[in-house]
Each structure stands twice: as structure tokens, then as C-alpha cells.
């Protein structure tokens, strides 16, 4: 078992940091209330893999061999050509040659069309959606409607999480157990994580970790990227500099009751990555946060978000996702569009946003603010850390 001494930070704020002139101004903060800093180690759609298999009662969506065969037939391609295409597609040495066929399986005025650029060039294949009763999140609209989920942690009914409904039965996008990660998102995360500026979470004015009526949660972007330790996990207790750009500075009031922090509603904006979601823009967001004894943070963030970026995350990659990750992209587009449930376009009536819930995990970090050179606090943890100093 690793024994973590980072717990000693509170004592250090009074002692060690006071030695740094620039940080001396924060010493008075360390009276009763406490601030904790974290760096986000995982952020993705909160999915519930139902142990009773109620989430996808009809199984997961088909793989590409099946939907290519079906959709190419639908496009009017002769059966012989379809068979030839599928044979080549299944032959790894020839698979690349089939890209144009798959990509141009749409039809506009009878002519082949790029289904990734224009998914509506193909009829809706009607992907299988999550049908189970359980799903993480919040009742965003204040209505317990038919089909809404019940949160497995809080028992809250009327949970709106249509994003989970769309992705939860796609093999590469779903979680298969209560603890694993969805494979495709995990790949994205692993590739991008150490190259993308870190996301930071600060919780300030904690008077009592179990009950504090008036805390502030700040979610910002860092200047530095996070790093992983020798065990492959996000390194704890590193120092990050908060990006002073106000666009990515999100502040919300909250309270801690019985050890669970819940926030008010807020709009949250955060820079992602061009190879992921380029920018996140949540409306009517809210959070539920738990801090574990080891100092790590686990939260559910719920809110409405524009649905199109979720399509374009994969649609921009096209065949690579369509053919190798079991995501029938035109079907994914239709599913998102149909599941969107808020903020209708005033002209078309089409909902522009989709309800969602996201799992955020974070580990202790030191956060400093570039703008005012102010050091914030950080982790409290470890059963054996004890008080630092004498």
C-alpha cells in the first residue's frame, strides 16, 4: 500500500508556503476554511452498465460488416458489388481500398454522397438506444417524464441523460461493467491526455468536509498538461498554473451535506481538444461531488450540451471510426439529433442541445493562479499522513 504524505499540505500552507513571499498573502485563508485543488484525470459520459442487462435488452448495435451490407444495398449497389466490397473490407490487406465505397454510400439526387460530411444523404438506420431505467445524472427539466432515468447513486427520478441513451448500446462507446471505461473514449483520452492542458477543480471555503453550507467550486484550465506516473496513473500533487483566460473560468456556489457536495446551476465552458470535443459548452449544468479518503475526487456533472459536436468528434474522422469502431456514423448522427431534448431552434423547432451526464475523476493537485500569483490549497488525504511539522 502506498502511503501518501501529501496529506500534510494544510500544515504546509501555514509553514512552508509562508516562506514564499508571493504566497504569504494566502496564509490568512488557512484559518478554518480550506481549499482543495485537483487535476482532472478522467472526463467522459457517465454510463451505467446495468448488471441486470436492462440497458440494452436487444443487444448492442451491429458491427460494420452488417451495416455496410445493409446500407450499401439500400443505396442501390448491386449485390455482387456489395459482396466484393465486404470481402475486401474483411481482408486487412485490402480494407483501405474500400474507404471510398463506405464513405460515398449516401445518395443525393441519385449520386453518391459523403455520408460523413452529410449524414442525411442516407436514411436513418435507427440505432438501438438504451432502454433501461437506470442512468446517472440529474432531473434537468424538473419533470419525471416517461423514459427518464433514475440515478443509481441518489435515487433521483426524472434523470435526463439522452446522450447516454444514444451511446449506451454502441459496443465501442459503452461501458461493459460498472467499473471499466468505454473502449473508444479511453483510447482518445489516453492519446490526448498528456498533450492537452489539464483541467483543474478547486473547492474553496470548506469549513467541514462533511457539512459546509457555502463552498465555491471553480473549474478552470491549466497552462500545463498533466502527466502520468510510473504506474500509468495521473500524477498527484503536481503544481498547475490556472489559465487566466476568463473563457475557461467557471465558478459555481455549492454546499456540502453529509459529505456530498452539490452545486447550484451554472453554465460551464471549457476548452477541449480538436481531436476530441473542441469546446464544451454546458447549459444549466450542476455537479455532485464526492471526495474519497485518499483525496481523489469523483463527480457527476449534468447539463445540456449542443449535440452536433458529439457527432463531429467521430464524424470528422469518418471511416476510421465508422469501419473499425462499430459506430455507424450516419446512424449516430440521426440518433443524437432525434434524442436532443432542449433548446429548440426557433426557426426549425429542432432541439439544439442534448441532456447529458458526465463522470469526472480528479486527483489532488496544487493550483496556482498566473494572474495574481496566488497559491491555492490542495489535497487532504491519507490515513497516516498526520499533521506535518511538530
Amino acid at each position: 500500500m502506498r502511503e501518501n504524505g501529501a496529506a500534510l499540505w494544510r500544515g504546509r500552507l501555514k509553514a512552508g508556503l509562508a516562506a514564499l513571499t508571493l504566497l504569504a498573502s494566502v496564509a490568512p485563508c488557512a484559518t478554518a476554511a480550506e481549499t482543495k485543488g485537483f487535476v482532472v484525470s478522467w472526463f467522459n459520459v457517465a454510463e451505467y452498465a446495468d448488471p441486470q442487462n436492462r440497458d440494452c435488452p436487444h443487444g448492442v448495435n451491429d458491427g460494420p460488416e452488417i451495416y455496410y451490407r445493409r446500407e450499401l444495398k439500400q443505396s442501390g449497389l448491386p449485390q455482387a458489388q456489395i459482396d466484393k466490397y465486404i470481402n475486401e473490407f474483411l481482408d486487412l490487406s485490402k480494407a483501405q481500398q474500400t474507404i471510398p465505397v463506405a464513405q460515398m454510400r449516401g445518395r443525393i439526387n441519385g449520386k453518391p454522397a459523403d455520408v460523413y460530411a452529410d449524414p442525411t444523404s442516407m436514411p436513418d438506420p435507427h440505432l438501438k438506444l438504451v432502454e433501461g431505467p437506470i442512468g446517472y445524472g440529474f432531473d434537468l427539466d424538473g419533470k419525471d417524464k416517461k423514459g427518464d432515468f433514475t440515478d443509481p447513486e441518489t435515487g433521483e427520478k426524472g434523470v435526463d441523460n439522452q446522450l447516454y441513451r444514444v451511446i449506451g448500446c454502441i459496443n465501442e462507446l459503452k461501458t461493459h461493467t460498472l467499473t471499466d471505461r468505454p473502449p473508444l473514449q479511453l483510447n482518445y483520452w489516453n492519446v490526448l491526455y498528456e498533450q492537452m492542458p489539464a483541467w483543474l477543480v478547486e473547492i474553496s471555503n470548506i469549513e467541514d468536509p462533511q457539512n459546509s453550507p457555502d463552498v465555491t467550486v471553480t473549474i478552470t484550465r491549466a497552462i500545463e498538461a498533466p502527466t502520468k506516473d510510473s504506474g500509468g496513473n495521473v500524477e498527484t500533487n503536481l503544481t498547475f498554473t490556472s489559465d487566466p483566460n476568463p473563457r475557461w473560468h467557471n465558478v459555481v456556489h455549492g454546499r456540502i451535506k453529509d459529505g456530498v457536495l452539490t452545486t447550484d446551476h451554472f453554465d460551464m465552458n471549457m476548452l477541449g481538444d480538436p481531436f476530441w470535443i473542441q469546446e464544451f459548452h454546458f447549459k444549466e449544468a450542476r455537479m455532485r461531488i464526492n471526495i474519497a479518503p485518499d483525496g481523489s475526487l469523483k463527480a457527476i456533472l449534468g447539463g445540456y450540451h449542443p449535440w452536433f459536436p458529439f457527432y463531429w468528434q467521430y464524424g470528422s474522422e469518418g471511416w476510421g471510426v465508422d469501419a473499425t469502431n462499430n459506430v455507424d456514423l450516419p446512424g449516430f448522427y440521426y440518433a443524437l439529433k432525434n434524442a436532443a431534448d432542449a433548446y429548440p431552434d426557433p426557426k426549425t423547432g429542432q432541439n439544439t442541445m442534448i441532456s447529458s451526464a458526465w463522470l469526472m475523476e480528479a486527483v489532488p493537485a496544487f493550483i496556482t493562479h498566473a494572474a495574481d500569483q496566488r497559491a491555492e490549497l490542495t489535497p487532504a488525504m491519507s490515513s497516516e499522513g498526520g499533521a506535518r511539522g511538530k
Binding site: M1, R2, E3, N4, G5, A6, A7, L8, W9, R12, K14, A15, G16, L17, A18, A19, L20, T21, L22, L23, I223, D229, S230, G231, G232, N233, E235, T236, N237, L238, T239, T241, F366, I367, T368, A370, Q373, A375, T378, P379, S383, E384, G385, G386, A387, R388, G389, K390
Partner: protein, 570 residues
Amino acid sequence: MASKGVILAGGVALIVVASAAIFGVQHIIGDRTETSAGLAASAGGPPVLRRLTQAQYKHVIADVFGPDIKIGGRFEPDIRDGGLIEVGAGKISVPASGLEQYAKMARSISAQVFDKQHRDSMIDCQPASVGAPDDKCATQFLGQVGRLLYRRPLTQVELGALVQGAGDATKTVGNFYSGLEIALTSMLQSPEFLFDWEVTKGGAAGTTLDGYSKAARLSFFVWDTAPDEVLLTAAEKGELDTQKGIEKQVDRMLSSPRLEAGARAYFADMLGFDGFDNLAKDPAIYPKYSFGLATDAQEQTLRTITDHLLTRGGDYRDLFTTRNTFLSRQLGAVYGIPVPKDAPGATPDGWQPYTFAAGDPRSGILMQVSFLALHSHPGRTSPTLRGKALRETILCQKVPDPPGNVNFNIVQDTKNPLYKTVRQRLSAHATQPTCVGCHKMMDPIGLALENFDSIGTYRAGENGTTIDASGNIDGVKFSDAEGLGTAVHDHPATTACLVNRLYAYAVGRAPTKSETEWLRGALMKDFAAEGYRLQPLMRQIATSDVFFRVVTPDTESKPVRSAALQGVEQ
């Protein structure tokens, strides 16, 4: 071909030197040593033949050709003797595999020196024709560079052979610079470059090193690199044969920024930082340990030392109690300290000064990651290893190796519910009669550092039990690591050890009996009088008449191999 002949000659000579190193350097040195009379037989020690350490090789190449010359290939491992690599360097040869590596590095360096990026800044002259030999220009270049690499002027024979080789190669290859490149490659493989030969001469006062050997000894001691042009010129003019001339050069060298590199080299050697090359930690237990952390840990300690001893001119003993240090972002994660990139004093490379507050359990270099991690097991701490390291590294005291049949089961089982802390496990282990004697020397020291885990992270307890960090060293009791630091600060062997080991480092061998008497007597008094500051101590050594005295094989008193240890045991 003559050019090949030059290279072959260099290679053969290297092998000869390697063999000589194996069978004893005195045979070679003896041939080049003039018999002298007049010096007391008990003064000084034998000359040495030292292979350049890895660090010295790199420093010399950077000094002569510039810091952007990359050094490819693997160095032959250095060996440690009497607690120092610098002493081991005098007892080491070059096997065939090592020769290949030196040849590879030589080719790589030469190719860079003569590439288009560097060539014009390296060579002061222009050949009459690039396609033909130019003995004048070749002589000028090879003479200048050879003087710096061999740390003395090349003899006419040496220079003539190199110039002829370069010319022959030019005719074959059709390019003047390619010819020079081949000649430089041969120089870089030569034993005259790879080994620091000490040559002696007789005088009215007795046998001593010749001027160039004095220059090299001074330079490798103070700067960890070869003599610069000024020092070589001083040697050439005979200025190093006078006390005034030596003092002038020593004072110049001690006031040079290069002193820091010299101090870093000594303390990295003394503290055994080469051990990090083979240090591993279990990533499942200590995921924060990485190559980057290990590098930063060494850097932290070396910055702490040079800042305290050189910048502040501090008392050496205070290294064990000082609260001043430097932190990087990665070290901050281990120490649990924020390291803002824009903090006062922060450097662009991410380092910043930091002072542990009074009451913080961390102070002194013994409580830094470098010492704590280097002397621990991959998955657990080791008060025994830490205690042993402190005794041998800081106090120059020898701890016997454990017997071969020791049962370590109790100390290795960190989850035994009967023995929750290391103290409890060691107490049980030390009930074995064959173990208790040595463990009494080590464990009471190392247990004081138990609040720091195998990579130096602070911990208050182990397996749910509060750690008792009390201990004692040679009758001085303390209650925690800070107390240990104070005890080491006050221990008379701490300063005596530095004096002995620094002298051994400077001369490349264990001090002789007569030298040890001087170290323990006059030099220790001077060191104390100067407030235990490093620079005055280095000056005392470098300007003393003992430093360059030589006792030849016929007249020397036998070197006391463990004088560094015997001289300081309390």
C-alpha cells in the same frame, strides 16, 4: 597507410596503457620519472594514472569543442574505490569492448567538429586547397587541439605523425578536412587523452609532478576538466614550480564559475550518485519514482550544496541542518509542496529556491529525496542501508558486509501483523547474534529517517502505527530526523571525512600515512579556523607543498589504502 598507422598506433598504445593499468602504473610512471633527492621520503604519495571519468570526458569535449557537440556511445563503467570514483579511476583499464566505444565516440565527435556547422569556428586557418594536404594548417590545428586534449604540448614526433597521417588521409579521401577529422579521431582514442598521466621530476626540494601534471591535477580537482590555455601556459613558463605561481592560478580557478562544476563533480562522486543509474523502485508502490524524479533529486542536492558552500560561503556542517534548498515541480509532488512557475527566484528550467519552515520535519541533505531514495530498497525503506550510507559516505567509517547466511525473512515481511514498523522488524531481526553488532552501528541512525518512505515522501506512520524516529549515533541521542541532522553536524568525523575524501579525490588515490597525519593535523585546524568552508579548504589543499609531492616506487611509503577511513574514525 600512414593515417591508419596513426590510428593503429593510438589503439595499440591504449591497449598497452590498459595493460599497464592492470599490472600497475608504477612501471610506466617509473620509466618517465626522474630520480630525486631532497624531499623527505614520508612526504607525498605516488603519482597516478587516472582514466578520465565519464563526467571529465564530457567536460573536456565541451570545453575544447563546445557544448553542442553530442557524445554518442557508452562509456566503460567507472569503478568506486575508497568511496570515490575518482580514486577508482586510477585502478581501471580499458577492455576491448571499451576501446570500441571510445573509438565510436571519437569518430562521432570528430565528424561533428568537422561538419559544416562547426568547422569554420574550430579551425583558425584555411588550407591552400581543400582537395590537397596543407601541412602548415594541419600542424596549427592539431597542435592547438592536441595541447588541450593531451594537456601538454605535443612532441615533435607526435605532431609530425598526426600531420603526416592527416596528409595521407587527405590524399586518399581528397578532402583536407576529412584528413584532419581522421587525425583528430586518432587523438581522441589516444591514451594520452583518455588517461591522465602524471609525470614527475626531481628538484632541489625533492620529487614533484612536472608543470603540466600539476596543471592537470589542479584542473581536474577544482574544475573537473582539463587545464585551460592560461593554466597550460603557466605550466609551460614554469610558473607552477613556484608557490607564488601556484597560488595565483589556484585563486584564479577558485574564483572562476567553473568551480561550481568542480564542486558538483566532487559531491556527486562522494554521495554516490552514480548509484541512481541502477536504482529501481516498484512502480506499484512508488509510482512517483521515475528517471525524471531521480534526475531532479540529484540536482536538488547538488544545487543545495553549491548554493550553500559556494554562493553563500557556508559552513560545510550546516548542509546537514540547512532548511534552504531548491525545488522542481516534480520534487514538489513528492514533498507535497506547490511549485509555482513564477515564484520569486524561479528559473526558466523550472527550479526555484525554497526554505522549509521551522517545525517542518525536513532539513538538511539527508532528508532530501536523493539520499532517502538512493539508500532504500525498491519497495520499502531500509534504516540499515541509510545508516550504512551515512557512516560510509558522510563519516568515512567502514561498516562490514553482512555474513552470507543471514535470514532476512522478518525484515522483508512488511505486512507481518506482529511487526508493524521497521523498528519492530529490525529489533526482531537483530536478536540474531551474528547481526546485532553491525546493526547497532547502522539502525539507530537510519531509524531516525523512517518518517520518509523509500522515495522520500513524508509519512507519520506505518501500518497504522506511529513511527518512532528516535535514535542515536555514537552516544548522541536524538528524537527525530532533525536531531540526526544536528548530530551529524556536530560529529567530529563529518568534517574529518570531508578533508580526507576531498584530498583523496584531488590526488586520485587514498592518502598515504604521512599525508593522513597532515590532513588530521594541520589541515583540519585550518579548516576549522576557516569556519569549515569549502573554498578555503580547497585552496589549502591545492596550494600546499604536499599536494604535488611525489614519492616514487623506490622511496615511497606504502599508500594506506584505507587511510581515509582510519584517519577519521572516532
